[in-house]
């Protein structure tokens, strides 16, 4: 099936494709799309992918992503691809890459962690793959599930 048929084309903007099924809403939260957004946004969830399984897709008109947003997306959807659209064409495409370390983008879940006590330090985690596993640089606590909830 051609997903272009499911949702409308965009002229300039970004298509976030191959999002882990079920994560589209979290991806929208990451890129700051909420009921105050005026941009044209299309979302498709549980679309049968070309290979196996289902995927979500988010398309935004007139917007490109910064590296912080891409890093966040990689944490909840490590296989997502980012397609930059200009004049209705895909002019560049890349797969998000899981950073080996992240700073200031995820909150530690341990309430007694020094990063949750009003100190000026940013949270920091080392990142492992398959499945995405975060380990706090300060208190060693591990985040394995529901990473989206911990995004700052």
């Amino acid at each position: 099936m051609k997903d272009g048929l499911l949702i409308r084309s965009i002229e300039h903007g970004t298509v976030i494709d191959h999002i882990t099924a079920g994560q589209a809403l979290s991806v929208m939260r990451i890129i700051g799309i909420n009921n105050g957004t005026s941009a044209v946004v299309s979302v498709a969830m549980n679309v049968p992918g070309e290979e196996m399984g289902l995927k979500d897709i988010v398309k935004i008109e007139g917007r490109e992503l910064d590296s912080r947003e891409v890093d966040k997306i990689s944490l909840i959807s490590p296989d997502a691809t980012i397609n930059i659209i200009r004049d209705y064409d895909v002019v560049s495409k890349y797969t998000v890459e899981l950073p080996s370390e992240i700073r200031g983008i995820v909150r530690c879940r341990n309430p007694n962690c020094i990063t949750n006590t009003g100190e000026p330090v940013a949270s920091a985690f080392t990142v492992a793959k398959d499945p995405v596993t975060l380990r706090c640089r300060y208190c060693d606590h591990i985040i394995l599930s529901d990473i989206a909830e911990q995004l700052i």
Partner: protein, 309 residues
Amino acid sequence: MSFSLRHVISMKDFTREDIDEIFELAERLERVASGVPCRLLEDKLLALLFYEPSTRTRLSFDAAMKRLGGASIDLGSVEASSVAKGETLADTIRVVGGYADAIVLRHPSEGAARMASEYSRVPVVNAGDGVGHHPTQTLLDLYTIKRENRLDGISVALVGDLRYGRTVHSLAYALALYGARIYLVSPPQLRMPEHIKSDLLESNIVVEETSRLEDVFESVNVLYMTRIQRERFAEPSEYLAVAGSYRLTSEMLSGVRDDLIIMHPLPRVGEIDSSVDETPYARYFKQSFYGVPVRMALLVKLLEGRDLV
């Protein structure tokens, strides 16, 4: 290889070479710890920053520094200091780092020492951060095992509160470096946290878990007892039942190995009956003495050579 650490934050930062080097020096410094005069750290100033009460650890660092001819300054009680006025730890560390040549920190938040080391221009020694790490306790525990038994291929039972007890967490990591066989003996509600167990298994050592102290008596070279705190239990009766079943008495020691040593980070509150003190297995007072030469060795390693910078 020479000692590579600038700060002492977590046992996980230590290589075996680092540990062996500390222990070699500690052994040479035992005489100094017992009172032979020494001026190795003359002119050096150590800041003691304790945000939580601790008499032993604080005293032991103070003694170590003074036996080496150095001096120490103390933040004093938390209420009397700027901490009560809401200054961040990051600021306090930068201020105190301007007064002293090294900082010993105890703080209630996990990761406090790691953060402090990132803001400090002088070495930071972690003397306990919440339920996190307490590496100098671990080093002295390990040193005791080395001096009173041996480190390689040893079987160690960690007994008591393995969930909140930070000393047993770091000790377990350190023992893994020496390929120890580790028995985790605790009531079900105070088991070792999963993430630590998984780290231990990843380092390819044998780890066994049981809730019965009797299960391990005949197998281990080291019994490491810890305190089970009343606050961990909702019901007083539950606490009493658990505490009672982890109470060591001399009668229980009939079938143990000849080389068994019994350790405890102290203070004890009934985990070890005083009848055990007279047995050939008791080592807990020796263990607390070893805290001084081990901390001395660390201070020397961290402070010497900094003049060359």
